[in-house]
């Protein structure tokens, strides 16, 4: 029942869906995707579970659930299911599960059942994309005014910026076999961003790949 904002685009381009609902394992040939992933690729991770928390009790609540909470604003950390947690403000967190998809659903259920408004349960349907490969910076240079050099955009941090005119959170990240950026954004702008970046990626010789490139455990279901 959960669907990525770019589900139709992926379906129209021959996506092979993984066992995780709505997540494309591959969009092209896996071997070609691996090459693209190392060079330049664009990938949709939107269907993995997400969750937001807000309020000055959020950090303690998360810690109480065994989550390693990032200590400072705009820092990120790993989740046990392969996902990550980002501290987007002093009392605001965003969690994105990995392929295990175990952490966020559990926390989501707990928060939904909670009668209190602090921490505030923030249902998230953000689009999440990944810009992958050695030449990912070239795409950023055509779409975003940030300097992508490592010392300006360090790993383990989240940066609020605009990509192709769309407000985004940008997370430099090391993925399996490659590096790149995770991009979070309002899902209502997802198709616009997806199409703009996809065109640039294609112009630069890259391609769209499935989430199997980022998470090899994801195989076609």
């Amino acid at each position: 029942m959960i669907q990525s904002p770019v589900h139709d685009w992926l379906a129209a381009h021959g996506a092979k869906w993984s066992r995780h609902p709505g997540l494309a394992a591959h969009v092209g040939e896996p071997s070609a995707e691996r090459v693209a992933c190392a060079e330049l690729a664009w990938c949709d991770l939107s269907a993995l579970p997400k969750l937001g928390l807000k309020g000055d009790r959020s950090a303690d609540w998360l810690a109480g659930q065994g989550i390693a909470v990032p200590g400072a604003r705009y820092e990120t950390g790993p989740l046990s299911d392969g996902g990550l947690i980002a501290r987007t403000d002093a009392h605001e967190f965003f969690l994105h599960s990995g392929p295990g998809a175990s952490v966020v659903p559990k926390l989501d259920d707990l928060l939904r059942a909670s009668p209190v408004s602090n921490p505030l349960h923030v249902e998230r349907s953000d689009a999440v994309f990944a810009l992958l490969g050695r030449r990912a910076d070239q795409v950023l240079l055509e779409t975003c005014g940030l300097n992508p050099r490592p010392r300006k955009l360090p790993l383990g941090h989240v940066v609020m910026t605009r990509v192709a005119g769309v407000s985004c959170a940008l997370l430099p990240e090391t993925f399996t076999n490659t590096t790149g950026y995770r991009v979070w954004l309002d899902p209502t702008l997802a198709v616009s961003l997806w199409e703009s970046v996809e065109e640039i990626v294609r112009d630069l010789g890259g391609s769209v790949v499935g989430a199997g490139c980022v998470y090899p455990v994801l195989t076609p279901g």
């Binding site: 029942m1 669907q3 904002p5 309020g55 923030v122 349907s125 779409t143 198709v191 616009s192």
Partner: protein
């Protein structure tokens, strides 16, 4: 290819790749690496273009990207600079601004009337009678001009690009290369740009063979990036530099900038100085060294320094018979290079200028030059002349700094008499100048000056550099050009001639007399002179003209160059294609999750702010109006489903959430019961209506607020602002994008929803204006009973990524009940029938709730809400207008009123129509309009001025038009 020289080291052409192309309908051949101009010149073609105004013949002049009289068009592009555009197989181009072709251009006779076209003639002529000027203007535009844009040409997008570096070095001559190496050796990320296709600058054609070591160093340094074919066209604050190449504009942010842009070689002003064959010395050298093209067969050189002698030797080496070298200096060239010229057998005429250039008979090319002896006042003696037959003249009389970027950065220039050139006296922080733009000319000095600039840039960026100034070389301090007598630039290479046509600005066909005339008319300031004469306003932006204009004006005013000043240099330094400026278009549009489903259902979309929303759904061949009415009627009769995911959705929580909302909105929320929703009206501090929506209370400290589509971000910002100002304990979360919503509405809506939710929908359990949480189609949702369109309805809010699933499920479940989707226009009609206004459509930036009939939403007895105090003041004032409903007769046939048509009373504007529908479920045309209060009573008639100025009569009606008791929305 009669003019092609034997192969030489460093040439840019690839002789193994011949290229065939067409120019003016004729086939030509060149080599890969040739430009259009060089390939044609090598083929013996001398007439390459026509001038802007007089259509005079023009050929190669600078070969440095500034030959704007040689513009061509073809392949859908126009104003292509032939001096730098590479030839390509199959290329088919022709000169711009001709009538009947380049060689037989009918407009060349324009020059015959040049006496009637002095500078600024169009400011004075053809203005009376008044009807004449448009005709004259069209004629002038037809005769004078550049290429024509082809509207049918289709081009791909031009990428937008950002870039970053520690040190930007502009220019890859010896100074630029040296600066880049010095900065890079400090570990900095250096970007080196040059407008030419290869690095080296003047090392490639003027001091051939020198500086190889520097070029190799640059290639070996991994932290130096090189962009050739790239022009730094504009400097903006904080070292933001616009870089333009053939494909795109790059916005570069540098830590520091080294400007080593060199100089523009300057022409000499004499009669006929634009005839094809007359060219700058550097152009002749470029032809020889870069393209292996013999510039002329029998030539003359005009010189004022060692560079001119170097040109003569280069021509001699290229097999040109150098018939004479005219040296403007009486003393000639004393150094070694002077001796070498004499040894080569080149006759040197000291203290001579070129006084005239003549065409070769009727041919549009040079046939001879006349040298004249100069007197002590630097004036030619027309009685002491010598005529020399030649087909080429290389002019080497000096330079002007390519200082545009420095000017734009805020550098202050001053005139340095040692080099007869303006040089930067003070530079802004983080900007450095090096090389010839800095007045430094000797090759070794340029390298040292570049090193100094590169080290200063490194020091500016925090590197520990010991005394970069030790490398300092300024024009006034050092040896200018190893043995040269005087500087490389002549202070006034301008020679009057009784027949004129001694051009200062070749772009605009301005000759010396134009400046004298303008000065006589009182334009004695350089900025005024520029605007009146248009000097420097052509496509080359005065690169060969501006400094000459300053010198001429200085002389006319009896002033110095410093006193005369220069015109303001603004970006762009070089023309930039508009497509580059537009770049790739990023116009993000917001789409709801159900967008694709709407497309498949035949939706016609409309823009609502940043959103795309279904306006209506096309069914069969129904017209727009029929479709909208059918959708609305289906809601009244059965059930409809509308995507309202665009509504603002804001969570407001915390112990003071109710008190916060009560201050923000006009209504009461502290008394609101959990499980109920309330209409919410927001005002600004002046009492103007800015938004409305619904506030649902889901727990004592949890509210869920909707806003209008276009105001969601603004209201969220308002909430954040007020929460900070009031220091209230509230948590705000904008859920507009991550949640979506649909409105299931119509008499059958309850039965459709009942099978899909665990919420008890019975009226007693879930009455009108109640709000509930529960599962809908298996998805956690907030459900609110609302009555915007006046029927039983459920507004369902849920996570956006379940939008497709929920929409499909509702449509499937409602099929038997006759469900169909309805769009924004049907919703507008339905709410109009109910007399509900839409904020920002039926209100404007001045509308207060009293005028809009929203007083019911103002909480009575409240201590405070935003805008309350202003409303109290407004209440004491006379009401100026009132929003009312109106009808037209059921059999009204038009002309129809439209939104924003004016209400007219006694010939004066008394209001306007805000909403209107020709066809409605109440059987007659209805609308909303602002009228004066005395016309607001039901039954009152008023006039609306419709399209074409016709007046129609409307009648004020009581609101709502439909279901006045509201029974349909409250079952």
């Amino acid at each position: 290819m009669s003019g092609r020289l034997p192969q030489r080291a460093g040439e840019w052409i690839d002789r193994s790749k011949p290229v065939e192309f067409r120019f003016e309908g004729q086939a030509f051949r060149g080599f890969s690496g040739d430009t259009i101009s060089t390939a044609l010149w090598a083929s013996g073609v001398r007439l390459l273009g026509r001038s802007f105004k007089y259509h005079r013949p023009r050929g190669i002049f600078s070969l440095a990207n500034h030959d704007v009289s040689v513009l061509v068009e073809g392949g859908g592009r126009t104003n292509i600079r032939a001096d730098i555009e590479p030839i390509a197989p199959g290329m088919d181009v022709k000169a711009v601004n001709t009538s009947g072709g380049l060689w037989s251009d009918r407009l060349r006779f324009t020059e015959t009337f040049s006496k009637f076209m002095p500078v600024g003639f169009y400011y004075k002529a053809f203005h009376r009678p008044r009807w004449l000027f448009p005709i004259a203007e069209r004629a002038m535009r037809r005769v004078a001009g550049l290429g024509k844009i082809s509207p049918s040409s289709v081009f791909g997008h031009s990428p937008k690009r950002y870039d970053f570096c520690d040190v930007l070095v502009v220019g890859t001559g010896p100074a630029g290369l040296s600066a880049a190496v010095a900065a890079a050796e400090q570990g900095l990320d250096v970007l080196l740009v040059d407008e030419q296709p290869r690095i080296g600058g003047s090392l490639l054609y003027q001091h051939v063979g020198a500086g190889r070591e520097l070029m190799e160093k640059v290639a070996a340094l991994p932290n130096v990036r090189v962009l050739t074919g790239t022009t730094a066209t504009g400097y903006y604050a904080d070292h933001w530099v616009a870089l333009v190449d053939s494909r795109k504009l790059t916005k570069l942010r540098a830590g520091a900038v080294v400007v080593a842009t060199g100089v523009h070689e300057q022409p000499s002003v004499f009669h006929g100085n634009d005839i094809p064959g007359v060219m700058l010395g550097s152009a002749a050298q470029r032809l020889i060294h870069l393209y292996a093209v013999q510039p002329m067969r029998r030539g003359v050189v005009l010189a004022c320094g060692a560079d001119g002698y170097r040109v003569a030797l280069d021509l001699h080496g290229a097999g040109v018979e150098v018939a004479a070298l005219a040296d403007l200096r009486v003393g000639g060239e004393p150094g070694d290079i002077g001796k070498r010229v004499l040894e080569a057998g080149i006759p040197v005429h000291r203290g001579h200028c070129v006084y005239e250039a003549h065409r070769a008979g009727d041919k549009p090319s040079l046939g001879a030059v006349v040298l004249a002896k100069l007197n002590e006042q630097n004036e030619p003696d027309a009685q002491r002349t010598v005529k020399i037959d030649c087909d080429g003249l290389a002019v080497s009389v000096g330079y002007a700094p390519a200082g545009a970027l420095l000017y734009q950065a805020g550098a202050k220039f001053g005139y340095e008499s040692a080099v007869e050139q303006l040089i930067p006296r003070t530079l802004p922080s983080g900007v450095f100048a090096a090389g010839r733009v800095n007045g430094v000319y000797a090759p070794e000095e340029k390298i040292a000056d570049g090193r100094r600039a590169g080290l200063e840039a490194a020091k500016f960026l925090g590197k520990e550099v010991a005394d970069p100034a030790r490398w300092n070389r300024r024009a006034s301090e050092g040896d200018l050009e190893g043995g040269t007598s005087g500087g490389p630039t002549h202070p006034y290479p301008v020679y009057a001639h009784r027949q004129g046509k001694n051009f200062i600005d070749l772009d605009e066909d301005l000759h010396l007399a134009d400046f004298v005339n303008a000065h006589q008319e009182g334009f004695d300031n350089i900025e005024l002179m520029k605007r009146y004469s248009t000097v420097g306003m052509g496509a080359s932006q005065g690169k060969h003209a501006n400094m000459l204009a300053v010198r001429v004006l200085a002389k006319l005013n009896g002033a110095t160059v410093d006193q005369t000043g220069t015109t303001t240099s603004r970006p762009f330094y070089h023309p930039v294609p508009l497509g580059h400026l537009a770049g790739r278009r990023f116009h993000p549009l917001r789409r709801t999750p159900m967008h694709a489903l709407h497309e498949r259902a035949g939706a016609h979309f409309m823009h609502v702010g940043a959103w795309l929303r279904p306006e209506y759904y096309q069914v069969g061949h129904q017209s727009r109006e029929e479709s909208i009415f059918a959708e609305a009627k289906n809601v009244r009769d059965h059930v409809g489903l509308i995507d309202v995911g665009t509504l603002g959705k804001i969570q407001v929580c915390g112990p003071e959430a109710a008190a916060f909302l009560e201050r923000l909105y006009t209504g009461r929320f502290t008394t609101q019961k959990v499980g109920l929703g309330r209409y919410a009206l927001a005002l600004d501090e002046s009492g103007v209506v800015i938004d409305d929506g619904l506030v649902g209370r889901f727990a004592e400290d949890m509210f869920y607020v909707t806003t209008t589509t276009s105001a969601s971000d603004a209201m969220y910002r308002e909430m954040q602002r007020w929460a900070l100002i009031w220091k209230m304990k509230v948590l705000l979360a904008n859920a507009t994008g991550r949640l979506t919503a649909v409105n299931l509405v119509g008499p059958a809506s309850r039965s459709v929803l009942a099978g899909l939710t665990d919420i008890d929908l019975t009226p007693a359990s879930f009455p009108y204006l109640a709000v509930r949480r529960g599962m809908v189609c298996g998805v956690a949702a907030r459900v609110m009973r609302v009555g915007f369109v006046g029927e039983l309805g459920y507004e369902i809010h849920f996570r956006a990524d379940a939008g497709v699933h929920v929409w499909r499920a509702l449509i499937d479940a409602g099929r038997r009940a006759g469900i169909r989707p309805f769009g924004v226009e049907a919703q507008r009609l339905l709410r109009l029938e109910k007399g509900h206004l839409i904020v920002s459509q039926d209100t404007d930036a001045l509308t207060n709730p009293i005028e809009a009939g929203l007083e019911f939403a103002l909480g009575k007895g409240k201590d405070f809400y935003v805008g309350q105090r202003s409303l109290e003041i407004l209440r004491k004032q006379e009401l100026m207008r009132k929003l009312v409903g109106f009808t037209l007769p059921a059999d009204f046939k038009g002309p129809w009123p439209e939104e924003c048509h004016l209400v007219i009373e006694n010939g004066r504007i008394a209001g306007r129509v805000t909403s209107f529908a020709r066809r409605s479920n109440v059987g007659q045309p209805i609308g909303l309009a602002f009228v004066t209060p005395d016309r607001a009573a039901p039954g009152t008639r008023f006039s609306i001025r419709v399209e074409g100025g016709k007046m129609i009569e409307a009648t004020v009606a009581k609101l709502p038009f439909y279901d006045p008791q509201g029974v349909r929305q409250k079952p």
